[in-house]
Every structure is written in C-alpha cells, then in structure tokens.
Symmetry: C2
C-alpha cells in the first residue's frame, strides 16, 4: 500500500481470503448442543418415516370390505375388539367383521386396511356404529412412505436450525457430526479508545468496535475466545497477538490502524510479519490488511465502525462460513431503490439501507438521513442491510434494482 | 371443542393469546451480556458524536487562509509545530502560518479550520510542502454533527443486534436497560415417544418435538428452563406442570394430545383447569389449547411436528415477543408462487415453502416434493418459511403473491 496506485477489486481480495482458510475438523454432538453448528456430512435416515404403518386420525381401524354398505341412513355396526393408543406395543390381528379403536399415530393392526375417522361414527366403546363406507387405505400412513432408511434428510454444510435438528431426531439420530466452531480473537486498536461507559479523557472516545466485532463473531456461529482493546503501541499489539495465539485461535480480527497514517499500529506490526495491506475498490472499507500469521488468518480492518461492519460481511464472514463448511456467501436479497443517491467512482459501494415493503415490493432507502453514511449510530443501528452498488455506477436512481446483503 | 361446530378465525385466537400475556420486567445489563435482549426504553446519546472536533483524514491541520496560493506547481511550505495522534490529550492552539501533523480521529487543534490530506503533501515532519489549497472546514468532523446529547439512538422495543449494541457503546453507554428473557418450559406428550437416538420399542417413534420446541424457544431469545417428555398419563403431566411452576416460568408449551382422541392427555389434564381447547381455521394446527394456569400462559399445541412449528410461529412467538416488549408479529416477506397447489377450504393454510430468487423475483415453492406437507424431514427441514394462504382461497396459482413467514 505504498502510494496510491490502482485499487484492487473486491473479488481479488475475497479470493485471497478464501484461498487462505480451510474447513475445520468435526466432532460429534448431541442434538441439544448442536444448534447453530454445521453438518459435516450428509445426514441420512437411520429409521424409516413413518417407522410403522399407523393411523393418521383418531377413529377405528377396519376392513373396508366390511363396510361397503355403510351410510348415514343405514349405519353398519361392528364389535370393537381392541383399543389402540399411540405408543402401544400390542398389535393383534384385526379379525374380519370387527373394528379396533385407534388413536392418531398408533400402529395399524395387521389385517386392517382403512381408518374410519371418529367423526363418521357414534364413538362407541364396545360396539361402533359407522355412518360412512371408507375407501381402502384411507387415513393410513404407511411405513417409510415419507422416507426410507438411507434417504437423505440433511445435506452436508447446512446450518442446524431447530427444524433441521428436529428432522434429524425424527430420522433416528441422537447426535450429529458437526464442524468445530471457529475460535476467534478480536482486537480493537487505538489510543483514543476507552471502554464502553467509562469516563472520557480529553481526546478519547468510546470503543464500539470491540462490541460490534464480538457480536458479529458470535452471530456468525463462531466462538469468541478473546476480545481486547490495545493502544497504538507496537509492543501492546504484539502482546495481544501472543495472547491470542496462546489461547488457540482460528482467526484474529483487528480494527483500526490499517491505513497510511504514521501511527497505524496494525500495519506497523503486521506488515513486517507478512500481512499484506491493500487498497480495495470498495466504500467504505478501502484499506484492508489480510494474511496468515503463524498459520492463523489475520484480518486488519479499518477503524470506522461502519467500515468494520462492511468489512466483516465482505471478508470475515465468508471466511468463518468456509471454516464451518458452508457456502462462503449467504444469498443477498433483492430490493428496489426508494430514492436515488450518488456513489463513489470506481469503488463498489456498500450502502447501509433500511428495508421496507411497499405492498409486495421491497424498497431500500439509505439508513442515515444524510451525510457520509459512515456514522455508526445514525446509519448502522438503523440499517437492515448493505446495498451493493457496482463500481461502474456513479449513482443509484429511484427504482434501480439492488442486491442487499443483510446485516448480521 | 365438543363436536365439530364452526372453526374459529386465527386472529381471534391470536387476540386471546396477546390479551393474556404481559410485558416482562427489565434489568440493567452490560453491553457484552445484552445481545438478543430487547431495549426496555429509548436509548439516547449520553455523549455527542463526534465527541470533539476531529480530523477525518491522516494529514495536516492548517489555517486555510495560509494556503490560498498553494498549488502543485507552487507548493506552500509550512513549519510543523505539533504531531497529533488519535487519543492525544494535547490540543495546543495552532499558530497562524503553521501546520500540525494529525491522524484520523485526533482532536483538531484550536484555531485550525481545515485538514490537508497527507496525499496532497510531501509528508514532511519538520516542514511540510502542501500542493493544494484546502477549503475551509475540509475533512473536519465537528463535535455533535452526527448526534447531540439526548438525541435518540435506539427506540424502545428493539432487539439488540451487534450494530445496535455498538451504537449504544459509541453513544456513551456501558450498560442498557433491557427486558428480562421469558422463562419457558416445553413438554412433549405421547406414550409413543422415546428420546432422540434411543432404541425404538414396537409402536414407538423418536421424539422430535422437544428438540424443535427447545430450539424455537431459544431462537426467540427466551430462556429454556425445562424440557420434558411425558407419556399419555394424567399424573405424569400434572407432575411435569408442577415442576415447571416450581422452577418459575413465564410460559409453558406442550405438544401432543390436544385433539379429540380418548388419550389426549393435554386436554384431559388442562381443560378442567381452565385451558380452552378450540378448533382454529388453519392448516396445519387446527386443534389448539390456550389459557392461563395459575398465572402462567399455557399453549397446548398439536403433536405433528409441522403443526408444532406453525403453531409456534402463529401463537407462541408473538406471545414471547410481546413479553419482551417487541411488536408481536415480525414482518413477513413477499414472494410469488412458482407453482400452484390446492389448499383446504375455509382454513388459512401455512404451507412450508422453499424460497429462491429468479433474478430479482423471490419465488416460493412447496418445500416437500408432494404429499401432505405435514412430514417433518421432507418439508420442514427444507422450508425457509410458511406461505400464508387466506381461508377464502381454494388454490394457489403460479404467480400468485404470497406473504411468507420466515421460519425461526
């Protein structure tokens, strides 16, 4: 980053990042501990679904042939020879000319070939009066009709949501092989920074980047193992990096000190250690440091909080997703610009936008009422996402289609 | 729910639920512990943003009037009288005819009225050669230009995302007043249920509802305090309810045993205790129990996992959001039906759908390839949301607009 020179495309930097990170190892976890983890392998059904032929209704299991003449005017009467609850392990053969009371989910007795819903009967206990002739197979769920043993339930590389964990449970799994969570250290640099809520000294401001990065890391299903704030002092940063490596990390994310200033501690410490600092054709987030330090990917992001948030989405989140075995880029949403705005030439803009429906049309408008858009409390806190405006464009016009990265 | 009778509208049941729940109390939490909580009050800036006049660039603080003649051909030369890093607490008056080296974020020295970016200079340390005349005010961020003390930063009732927590930090807060998390017990009923991964007995199936409900509760930012599985036995359910009340809960969510069957333990135990069981005009999820038991809202959901997932989104999540002081209903997304399907008459359908963009158009298609859609592993695990089809409609046609509730 010595001198201006041409800006590098965002994709080139993303490619460098993705080439430097690898998928982490896996471990087996019980379902209750696997929420937010990523499947390390395809999950296949260990049991059929349904497990056995069963009733889809509360009613009576019957031989359909016994009831061809049943009608509301002339109900058929059958003896009730069994009472089958869900969970019963008694499945006696159903004799011809008889009915078995049966609950939803209870195993179908052998011989029965239809269920008469309780609504079509008098609900009898010893004998039942049936007012409608059932179709053969009615209201029976057949074993394996939804899923046979070995059928795919979940693909590899998917995030385990409540529904997916429940699907794995239904398919016979009590635990799953999942990717390890990336262990991440975040380090906010800047002598001007004091802890949130602490009294301000002259010239100091409150550190918001530690809070932002810690939250984004956890929201990306990674594990935050260290969060530090260090002054613009080489020795202090070197010590923080040593602490991060000592606890064991898969990535280190720094904010601040990545640009050309004399006191840019991140560049001062990291550039001699092989971390490359480049000017990327994006706004915000132009100065970016990235490299591998003793085997650990290190991201040196700019210091402005909006730049930090954008840089995280563009470079850090894809890396953390890749480490977890997921596709690197979550799909964007599409919206129409509600208003126009000017964009910087030759840099891809990531504009904080608020999203709102106008009928079925999703509209995006700048999250800050005006100004640079780089102001944290006035734009980032109100933003639902970042609208991606290509570098070739110099303005967004009302009605333009926009891809929007949702914020984490 | 004695006999068929008319179905009740979804909105009527939602209104009963929302009338029975109240906003929980609040507590003060440090920012690092407040992720996913909800603001209990509007958050206003405790400090101005920026805190003080400061430089937006690395460069030199100057008096603009000294440099009106500066140009690339005839640079102006100024003595450098100070070196101002970010975080410095020394802000000497800048004499006329002098420059101060200044880093991004460092306080502007009194008297200075413009910043010359380092790119427009020779980067001198003792004396600096300036190649461009600055405009007064250039690259200066003025104190409070983004936010004055007392300005609103976050509304009450918003979920604390990483960006919102960072905005609170930047605005001077180290802790926030947030709503208490709802304490929730989940109870899956059914004698057929065995634990995920356990060996199956004849007639038994694996319990997936405990896993599903536990995950949905946690995903709704509530606290799971108890998760139980009980057989279809009144005494067992009564004991489980007593345990829930003993640990202290704000809501109890049951699955299974809510319909008309003889072994419907939830109804058998809860109806005499004042929980009303109704048939709601929705599919899935028709049989619903809801009421308040000794001050605690109790939801008795059907037993089918897809019904559980839908019922949670339609009734339980709005209650948990209300308890946290949020708007009860998260906004749906809008999509177009990619294919058509038939829907049940006189019941609002919540159809599990997968969402995918076709260019800028969001398309919804049934998540299961066919069949009833009530099969967990084949539809719920693949669903991005539930398409809401009004009760008046008997079919969805390709291209129809659909509101889609995203799954939790």
């Amino acid at each position: 980053m010595s001198g201006p020179g041409p800006l590098e495309p965002v994709e080139a930097q993303q490619a460098r990042v993705l080439a430097a990170v690898r998928v982490l190892g896996s471990e087996s976890l019980p379902l209750g501990a696997a929420a937010g983890r990523t499947t390390a392998a395809e999950v296949r059904a260990a049991v059929p679904i349904p497990v056995f032929d069963n009733s889809a209704m509360d009613g009576y299991a019957v031989h359909a042939a016994d009831l061809t003449a049943a009608s509301a005017e002339r109900p058929s009467l059958l003896p009730v020879v069994a009472d089958l609850a869900a969970g019963t392990d008694l499945t006696p053969e159903l004799p011809q000319g008889a009915a078995a009371r049966i609950m939803t989910g209870a195993p179908l007795p052998p011989g029965a070939d239809a269920i008469v819903p309780v609504e079509d009967t008098d609900g009898g206990v010893d004998r039942v009066s049936i007012r409608r002739a059932p179709v053969r197979g009615a209201h029976i769920r057949r074993a394996a009709e939804d899923l046979a043993v070995g059928d795919s339930v979940l693909a590899a590389g998917v995030r385990l949501t409540p529904a997916r964990l429940a699907a794995a449970a239904a398919a016979g799994h009590g635990s799953l092989e999942v990717r390890r969570r990336p262990r991440v250290a975040v380090v906010a640099t800047g002598s001007e920074l004091v802890a949130p809520g602490a009294p301000l000294r002259p010239g100091s401001i409150h550190d918001s980047n530690s809070t932002l990065l810690a939250g984004l890391v956890v929201g990306a299903d990674a594990e935050l193992v260290l969060a530090e704030r260090v002054p613009d002092d080489d020795a202090a940063l070197i010590a923080a990096l040593a602490r991060a490596r000592a606890v064991g990390v898969d990535a280190i994310v720094l904010s601040g000190g990545a640009s050309v200033g004399a006191y840019d501690v991140a560049r001062s410490v990291l550039e001699p250690r092989g971390i490359a600092f480049r000017r990327i054709a994006m706004q915000p987030g132009k100065p970016q440091g990235f490299g591998v330090l003793e085997g650990v990917p290190v991201f040196a992001l700019p210091g402005n909080p909006v730049s930090v948030a954008v840089s995280f989405e563009v470079f850090v989140r894809p890396a953390l997703r890749t480490m977890q075995g997921r596709a690197p880029f979550p799909p964007p949403v599409h919206a129409l610009a509600a208003v126009g705005w000017r964009t910087p030439p030759e840099r891809r803009q990531y504009a904080p936008v608020a999203l709102e429906y106008d009928g079925p049309t999703l509209l995006a408008r700048p999250a800050s009422a005006g100004g640079s858009g780089s102001h944290l409390a006035g734009s980032l806190a109100l933003a639902d996402g970042f609208a991606v405006v290509p570098a070739e464009r110099s303005e967004v016009r009302p009605g333009d289609e926009l891809a929007v990265m949702l914020v984490g």
